[in-house]
Structure formats: C-alpha cells, structure tokens
C-alpha cells in the first residue's frame, strides 16, 4: 500500500470494567482499512468484533480502559476533543447496527431521524436536508421517500427500516461505514438486497466499510479482505476469496467445516468441541488451543504472534504443517471422488 490507510488501528487493547475488576476484551489488535476498501471482521459471540467497532467510534461503555492508537485520516481518534469527535462521527464514520428498531426513536418520524444530523451538526437548512434525505432514500431503494419521511418507525418493516438506517449513516457522506451485523435480524431475501445496496454504495461512492458478521461467506461476498477474530485477537487475515477456499488458521478451518452445507447433509457435522472463549478467560498460550485438533504442548505454553504466511497473516505456529496436511487430505478425497 503506497498511501497511508484511511483507518489505522494499532496495538489496540481494551479492558471493560465489569463488577469490581477490569476484563480484557480486545488484545493487541491491529488492522488497516484503505479508502474505499471493504474489510470483513468475522467472529463468534464474545470474540470482540463489536467492541472493536465501538472502540473505533469511541462508543465504549464508561470506565473502559483503552491503550494503543487509532488513526483516522491522519488524526488520532483517541485524543480528539468533543467538537472534533462530533465532526469525526458525522463526516468521518457512519454507524449501522444489527437491530434498526433499537436504534431509532419510536416517537420521532423517519424524517426527523434522517435530517437531524444535517441540520444540527452541519447547519443544512430544513428544505435542503429534506431534499437530500429523499434522494438518499432513493439510493437505498426506497422510491416514495417523501411519504416515508412522514412515517414512524413502527410503520416500516425491518428491512425497510434497516435501509433507512443505512441512508441515515450515509447522509453526512462519511468516509467509513461501520456496519455491525447489519443483516442478522433480516430475512435471507431481504439480507441479499441490503447487502447488494451496501456493495453498490461502496463501489459508487468509494465509502470504505468495516463489515462485522459471524458469517464467513457473507463477508466474502462484499469484502476484499477478511479478518477472523477469536477471544479478542485477530487470528487470521486474508483476501476473502482465499480465506474461504483455503483457510490457514485451524479455527477458520473448523468454523467453515462446522457450517451445515446446502449441497448435502454430512453424517456428522465437524463440530468444534467446547465453546468460544472470551479474551478474559485466556491466560497465556494460544487462545484456541483447548479446542484445536492440532494443538501441541508448545501451543499451550507460548503466546502466538500474527505472522505472514503465504499472502495472509496467521496467528498459529503450525499453520504451514496443518495447511499442507489438509491440502493432502482434500487432494486425496478429490482423486478418489
């Protein structure tokens, strides 16, 4: 990469205050997103993927201890003053959440919700704000925008409301969208449509996207690169197309194998034993070691570093061996079948 990235997160470490003590939720996380790039962040519950996006937006719960650097467009996010932060949250980043109903005010009309930022933070007139809102709604596939602006959230379906959320996030023309499981609460056919809209907007407007999901294949469909998170760490980063076809980390491999497939039931799904760990439950050594089929004594004893393997980054000391072994198995299966 020649130019410096739009978003540069380095050595991010987040601890939350739970009960009396501090619990680590993100451990030494680094990632970069270039202008107009889509990066997928995939993980199971408790992996720290949502906390990463909240840290980037500086929306962590009170009492959270954050170290490391977050640089957006050359500016240090963690040192921003309140006015700078306000500007960053409108012109810099846009946020889309999983449940649009929980993030809209039920007693405010869609129009107020959409135009509030423009009028209060950016000083746009009411008429101009309304005009822009209608045109943005058209961009996200809502044609009768003028009528929708007069409606309340309960009058819209979930998919429609999520489009309004995307529209609201885009209105201030941010450079980066943080989309946290934006389609998880939607039906599959609606999901396909919302994903298509996100993808189209990214291509047409050059908005960068951090797309957070638990679905590797969904991430691959719109993201250039994907990071896989486990227990507050990135365990693998790869071009999305490569990740699904030939994952390097045993966790990614296991995750892909555990998913029931459409092309036929298998006699027994390759379930991963145990349950996903959170960052605070892991002391030292590889966080995945206790569930990993390839773990050795050495994996449990030493911390793993994220290191370059082939074209990606992997946090596993045995990545090459495991990868070669799996490739041999699949080639054998291929030659037999």
């Amino acid at each position: 990469m020649t130019a410096s990235p739009l978003l540069d997160v380095s050595d991010l470490h987040v601890e939350l205050r739970i009960g009396g003590g501090l619990h680590p939720v993100i451990h030494k996380l680094s990632l970069q997103i270039g202008a107009g790039e889509a990066l997928g962040l995939v993980g199971e519950s408790g992996s720290g993927k949502s906390m990463t996006s909240r840290a980037i937006a500086r929306l962590l719960p009170p009492g959270a201890a954050v170290t490391g650097q977050i640089t957006f467009d050359g500016q240090p996010v963690l040192e921003m003053s309140p006015p700078e932060l306000r500007r960053y949250r409108t012109r810099g980043i846009g946020l889309i959440f999983q449940d649009p109903r929980a993030h809209t005010n039920p007693v405010h009309r869609i129009g107020d919700f959409l135009t509030e930022t423009l009028r209060t933070t950016m000083g746009v007139s009411r008429d101009e704000a309304t005009r822009r809102a209608v045109s943005t709604l058209a961009d996200v596939g809502i044609q009768d925008g003028a009528r929708r602006l007069r409606q309340y959230p309960h009058e819209l379906s979930g998919g429609m409301l999520q489009r309004v959320m995307i529209g609201a996030a885009l209105l201030a023309e941010p450079k980066l969208l943080l989309a946290d499981e934006p389609t998880t609460a939607l039906d599959v056919t609606t999901q396909a449509e919302v994903m298509a809209i996100l993808d189209e907007l990214r291509r047409e407007r050059g908005v960068a996207v951090l797309f957070i999901t638990h679905d590797l294949e969904l991430a691959a469909s719109v993201c250039d690169r994907t990071c896989v998170m486990y227990a507050g760490e990135i365990v693998e980063q790869q071009a999305s197309s490569v990740l699904n076809a030939s994952p390097l980390h045993p966790y990614t491999t296991a995750l892909l194998a555990a998913r029931p497939r459409l092309d036929g039931p298998v006699r027994q799904l390759a379930a991963i034993p145990g349950r996903p760990r959170s960052a605070f439950e892991v002391s030292e050594g590889c966080a995945f070691a206790d569930r990993c089929a390839y773990a050795e004594q050495e994996c449990i004893a030493t911390d793993q570093v994220l290191r370059p393997v082939e074209a990606g980054l992997v946090r596993c000391r045995r990545a090459e061996e495991v990868h070669a072994e799996l490739r041999a198995i699949s080639m054998e299966a291929g030659s037999v079948g």
Binding site: T189, A192, L269, A271, I272
Partner: protein, 281 residues
C-alpha cells in the same frame, strides 16, 4: 410404511383485527395447510417472517386454536382445546417444543436438574431416586455435566442452555419434538454440536421432528422432507434434497439464491421479486 404420528388437514388460522378505519379487518396467517409426519421422520417448515410458520407450530402444540381444519395425533383428534387437565397433560407428553431463545425459555431461578425433574414429576408416577436417575440419563444424552445441571441458567452458555431445553423436552418422552428456530441464535461451532445431538437422538429413539427454520443449511442437515411457506400458504413441498436443489416455485428459487455461498454475489431485486442483473458491469 411407518405409522403416521401427526397429521394436519386443511388447517386455517384467521386472526381478527380490531376495527380500523383502513386496511383489512382480518389476517389469514395459515391457509389450507396439510401435511403428515411419519414415525421417525423429520419435516422442515421453511419460510420467512410472516409466512405463518410459528402460528402453525403454536397450533400443533395447542397454544393456538385452528379456525378450521383438523390436527390428528396418532389417530386422535386434536383440533379443539383439551377439556380436562389430564387430557392437556397427555397432549403435552406427546408433543414437546424447543424454542429459539434459550435465554428466555428457562426459569432464571431454577437449576436444570430441578426443571427437568419437574417434567418427570408431572408426567410419570415415580419415586425420587428413579427421577434422579432419569435426570442423570437425560443429562448424559444431551451432554451436560453435574456442575451444569446444578447451576442457574445465567451461569450457562447459550449452547448449554439449549441442551437443557432439549433435555427438558425429551424428559416427557414425546413422540414429536417441535423445534422452532432452535439453533438460530447459537454460534456456528455450537450450532453444529446441537445439530449432531438432534440427529443422534432421532437415530437412537425414533422420535419425529418438525423443524421450523429459515436456515436452508440447517434444514438440509436434519430433515428428510420440507414444506415451503409464503404468506400462510404452502408454495412447495417434497423431499428436502429436491426442494433445495431443484426448486420449482419462484419463491423457493429466490430463497435458494439468497443464501451466501462461495462465489455468491448479492443482487438487487426489482419489485416483481425477480433478481435483476443490475450488478453486472
């Protein structure tokens, strides 16, 4: 030919809405729905929100009364509500349900051991020792250890809670288990464990499943036959493999093409419901 355990004939459910100035005054949630479920068979009911699949489930377990049509269980009519407590209990034994959300379907102040034992106490005449042995056996079957059996639900993970819900449902020794999006809220790695567990239990006991799900991968993995519902109506039915691999109805085709898979690209639809090729450039 295995015996038919559960049969629905021309089921219809209409919800009346309060009088309004505009819009319809009733909603047909399920219309003219029929199916039969054989002993040991697993049937998928596939559909999106508003398709009527949960209303169907509620009618099957007696939480909702059909407006018309018949539900028969092993030859006994079930369309009208149970008149007596013992009849209600008998029906409860025959069909059990596992809900989507393991966080809200368990009593937060009751340990799994006690909640499973309660079911045994309700349905079977047995002494304390027999019940304790049966609780241990069920825990073993679903993979819960002693600590988990005696912990409060908030101390358990989502997957463990769903195991408790399955154990509790199995405690009544039902012939039909109704799984309403039972694995939808679980992480992929845990979901695989529960799907394997459900497959093992069916193979070992010959129980029948009605699997309500929007997830076609899940449906492919644990069902033999499928019906696809759209707005209360069955639009397609057949063996699961045929329905998913050679869908005939446009709605099934749309569902099928909306599932992310390697090489999948999301496509915008126009208003007719057909995928458009606006993405091609």
């Amino acid at each position: 030919m295995a015996e038919v355990v559960l049969e629905a004939e021309n089921l219809r459910k209409v919800f009346r809405l309060r009088a309004r100035s505009q819009g319809p005054d009733e909603i047909v949630a399920v219309d003219d729905l029929s199916f039969s479920l054989a002993e040991g068979e697993s049937l998928a009911v596939v559909g999106e929100s508003g398709s009527g699949k949960t209303t169907l489930a509620r009618m099957l377990v007696g939480l909702e009364r059909p407006t018309s049509g018949r539900i028969t269980f092993a030859g006994h009519d079930r369309s009208s509500p149970a008149r007596t407590a013992s009849e209600r209990r008998r029906r409860g034994r025959e069909t059990q349900m596992v809900f989507q959300d393991p966080y809200s379907s368990l009593d937060p102040r009751q340990t799994p051991a006690s909640s499973i034992e309660e079911v045994l106490h309700l349905h079977f005449r047995s002494d304390r020792a027999t019940r304790a042995a049966r609780v241990a056996e069920l825990a073993e079957q679903v993979g819960l250890d002693g600590r988990q059996l005696n912990a409060l639900p908030r101390r358990l993970s989502g997957g463990q809670r769903q195991r408790v819900a399955v154990a509790r449902a199995l405690a009544a020794e039902p012939r039909v288990l109704l799984l309403d999006e039972a694995v939808a809220s679980l992480d992929v790695s845990i979901q695989a464990q529960i799907l394997n567990l459900l497959a093992d239990i069916r193979a070992a006991t010959g129980i029948s499943y009605v699997v309500i799900s929007h997830d076609l991968g899940v449906v492919r993995q644990i069902t033999d036959a499928a019906i696809v519902m759209q707005r209360g109506v069955v639009v397609e039915r057949g063996p699961t493999a045929d329905v998913l691999h050679h869908p005939h109805h446009p709605y099934t085709q749309l569902l099928r093409s909306s599932v992310p898979a390697p090489g999948w690209k999301p496509a915008r639809r126009d208003r007719s419901g057909q995928p458009s090729d606006a993405g091609a450039s």
